[in-house]
């Protein structure tokens, strides 16, 4: 707890809470809260007394704090000790210093406070099959399993750790045993324009390629996302959302890039979006994103957010099915082309509106010219209205067909519920809890977490079977709601609960907002 904000933090505490604070400098309003317990430890002073090195005096304060918390919550000290050993494996001096600081905190807490507190932490059987991981790391693992070989990026918070993790995994899993060289290429590009352009080039030439960015980078990629959409090149783009607009609050979380992603680029453009709800889904959806991008030959944007991407979540252990094979979509190889009199890139669509592509370097019969300018079904340049419309209408059919292939929504129903709560991404746990709490307040509510766009039929079925639904999302303008309305939802039956201050949504505020809105409706 830092001295600048601690008075405010104390003011926000729930009654009955505890405050563990560094009492080296006294509180200004020590008596402000009678209803919370103040547990002061002179952490800074203890560190000055115990350590000589000025850096350690600062850095080890956290360890004193950790030791005190461990004692107060009755956490097994062996676990903490093992963690320190692992962390400072190769640095004996630091390891000892950390252990020492940890014990200082532990002992102080035992001697001065009624330890342990009535709440405690202990291992549970139920979590044995769970892991703790952040969404960016899980996404990177997904990209490895989806056999992505080309990645291009320009650093931006909060997506940077995704590429850091992918680079680290690539050192292990993208290595040619014979030569020791790498079987992947990671390009740290000069900007996001270059990052997306590189991914498009690689996707066009047949590699599974991706980039990761956040709001400002998504803005820079717009023109080329339209190019990939119109020329039908598979692209996977991970957008780890942060609070906008502009530079906004880079370290704060939001879901405010939904519309910018759905229609990224000028002209009539619509993309496939996936909304993972936790790191486990980040892993899963990364793999699905590559399959969808190649099946539909188009960009797929996976929208997580700072909360999912950067924070550790407890999720079910990641699982991999070894029978998986990548869905490369309709790609004609040299043998397929043998029987083809003349190959045309955008002719002969399948029922989903997808046409067959070819890759360069495969066969002399495969050649075609890709252009972002007006083209007809043969791939030739055109300005003819009918020829132009034929292609863009097929693109619309193709996008609509993707609704059947994106992940279906997660739905939980209760008998007789007239109210539906709709959310996406990191909003899931809070909204689920809100539905639970609403029951105690006399409101039976179902909830649904949307996981893909274009919307699966089950999304509309959920909306249709409730008198009123509230879309709970983390942006100012109700972007998911707008997208639902655009897709045919009934505006009169679709309300909004908007939480957009940059911190994750809580169940309590959802409950209060829903109750207020329901009361207003009754009047």
């Amino acid at each position: 707890m830092n001295t600048q904000t601690r008075e405010r933090d104390i003011a926000e505490l729930s009654p009955g809470g505890w405050v563990l604070w560094d009492s080296t400098s006294p509180l200004e309003q020590a008596g402000a809260r009678e209803d919370v317990a103040l547990l002061g430890i002179p952490i800074a002073r203890m560190c000055i007394e115990e350590f000589d090195n000025p850096r350690e005096r600062i850095l080890l304060q956290n360890m004193v704090y950790a030791g005190a918390v461990t004692a107060l919550l009755n956490i097994d000290p062996e676990i903490a000790a093992a963690f320190i050993d692992e962390r400072y494996q190769r640095r004996a001096r630091l390891r000892e210093a950390n252990h020492h600081a940890f014990r200082l905190g532990e002992e102080y807490a035992r001697e001065h406070f009624a330890y342990p507190l009535p709440c405690r932490v202990e291992p549970l059987e139920g979590t044995l099959d769970s892991i703790i991981v952040d969404g960016n790391t899980a996404t990177a693992v997904g990209c490895i399993y989806a056999v992505a070989t080309v990645a291009a990026w320009y650093p931006i918070t909060p997506s940077t750790s995704l590429m850091d993790a992918f680079s680290a995994f690539s050192r292990r899993y993208r290595r040619d045993p014979e030569s020791g060289l790498t079987t992947g290429m990671i390009v740290q590009a000069e900007d996001e324009l270059a990052a997306i352009g590189t991914v498009i080039g690689a996707g066009w030439a047949g590699a599974r390629a991706f980039t990761a960015t956040s709001g400002p980078g998504l803005s820079l990629m717009q023109e080329q996302l339209g190019l990939a959409y119109y020329t039908e090149v598979p692209v996977v783009l991970f957008v780890v959302q942060r609070a906008g607009p502009s530079t906004g609050m880079p370290t704060r979380t939001q879901q405010a890039d939904i519309l910018a992603a759905a229609h990224a680029s000028h002209g009539d453009t619509a993309h496939i979006l996936l909304f993972p709800g936790d790191p486990a889904e980040c892993f899963d959806f990364a793999v699905r994103a590559f399959d969808l991008a190649e099946r539909f030959q188009t960009p797929v944007l996976v929208l997580s957010d700072s909360d999912i991407g950067m924070n550790d979540w407890m999720v079910p252990r990641l699982r991999w099915d070894d029978s998986y094979t990548p869905d490369r979509g309709r790609v004609l190889g040299a043998a397929d082309l043998e029987g083809v009199a003349e190959y045309h890139r955008y002719a002969d669509p399948d029922p989903d509106g997808v046409t067959a592509r070819t890759l360069p370097g495969v066969s002399p019969r495969a050649a075609y010219f890709t252009r972002g300018s007006g083209h007809n079904r043969l791939g030739g340049y055109t300005e003819d209205p009918d020829e132009y419309r034929e292609v863009v209408d097929r693109l619309a059919r193709k996008h609509a067909a993707a609704a059947r292939r994106v992940p279906e929504p997660v739905v939980e129903r209760r008998p007789e519920a007239g109210v539906g709560l709709v959310t996406l991404g990191s909003g899931g746990p809070a909204v689920r809890e809100a539905a639970e709490l609403l029951r105690a307040r006399g409101v039976a509510a179902d909830w649904m977490r949307v996981r893909g766009y274009p919307f699966d039929a089950a999304v509309h079925a959920f909306l249709d079977t409730h008198e009123i639904c509230f879309v709970v999302e983390q942006n100012r303008d109700g972007q998911l709601r707008t997208l639902l309305l655009e897709s045919g939802a009934n505006a009169a039956k679709l309300g909004s609960v908007l939480v957009y201050g940059g911190v994750p949504v809580s169940a309590g505020e959802v409950v209060e907002s829903v109750l207020t809105r329901l009361r207003r409706r009754e009047k």
């Binding site: 399993y145 056999v147 080309v150 790498t182 000069e190 590189t198 040299a334 890759l359 370097g361 002399p364």
Partner: protein, 349 residues
Amino acid sequence: MPSIAKPPVRHPALPVNELGLTERDYEGPMSTLCAGCGHHSVTAAIVRALWEVAVPPHMVAKLSGIGCSAKTAAYFLHGAHGFNGVHGRMAPLATGVAAANSELLLIGISGDGDSFSIGIGHLVHLIRRNLRMVYIIENNGVYGLTKGQLSASADVGSTSHWGTAGVIQPIDPMLLGLSLGATFLARGFSGDKVQLVPILKAATGHRGLALIDVISPCVSFNDHEGSTKSYRFTRDHDVHGTETDFVEPRPAILAAIGREGITDLTLHDRSRVRARAVPQGYDPTDRDAVGAYLREAHARGEVVTGILYVDPSRPTFHELLGVVQRPLVAVPYSELSPGSAELERFAQS
């Protein structure tokens, strides 16, 4: 990678190259550019050069941005894949294609607007990376497609079709390249196919980025009296820095570099470029001397052409990043997927 299809039967009069293909096989559909546009001649030189070095057409990827120049990627090598992307972003596209498939020969066609203004950030980094590709700038001093605005290569004092004159210092891609560590720099003139063809052939054998600035007049907007990118001006002021002969691949490595007037450079594919220095003493491997010479010549109003600088020793982008030689698209799934057992290990960590 797959082999080349059997060449179709041809009129016996048409000469064939090593692959049994005629020059026709390296052509493309009819051009829609203005009659007399310099870009046509560049296309013709590319066709001739690629035919002569006998590249299998389907092993080429043609890339471009947007502009009259960019359109020309469609007008040669109908048997190759081509990608006409967005304005100024050819370099990233090329980086991605090369990343996926390092066996392809990348031929990029750009314009002075495409490369020196909207796309200069990418060009700069492409040069630094030394990505293996042939990068041709069809340089006409204007934005032809948008009707003749002066570009960043327009000389100070050179007048536009609309009467205004250049007032800002131009960008010279050769000097830019030298300062960024380029490994192959050449300048040609679309009106001089005799010189341009061997330059292009040498470029296809270079193992890094071959940057070729081709003065390619725009007859509609920049070919008038007062323009320094007109046919007339270029013909009158063209000074050959080097005369280039192209020596077909041969195993013997010969690289007698010196100031004797002749420089033999052995390229990646073991072909050689024999650059006869004009004037005497020009050494296309001496970076500082080349830079000084180009600056002096520019001050005299000369347009120096030829293979101006070559350094075949520097590593390519793939080598710098330690990427395998075989194309990444050819690495099988089984080699790339770690399998379920490894995921278990991840859960433990």
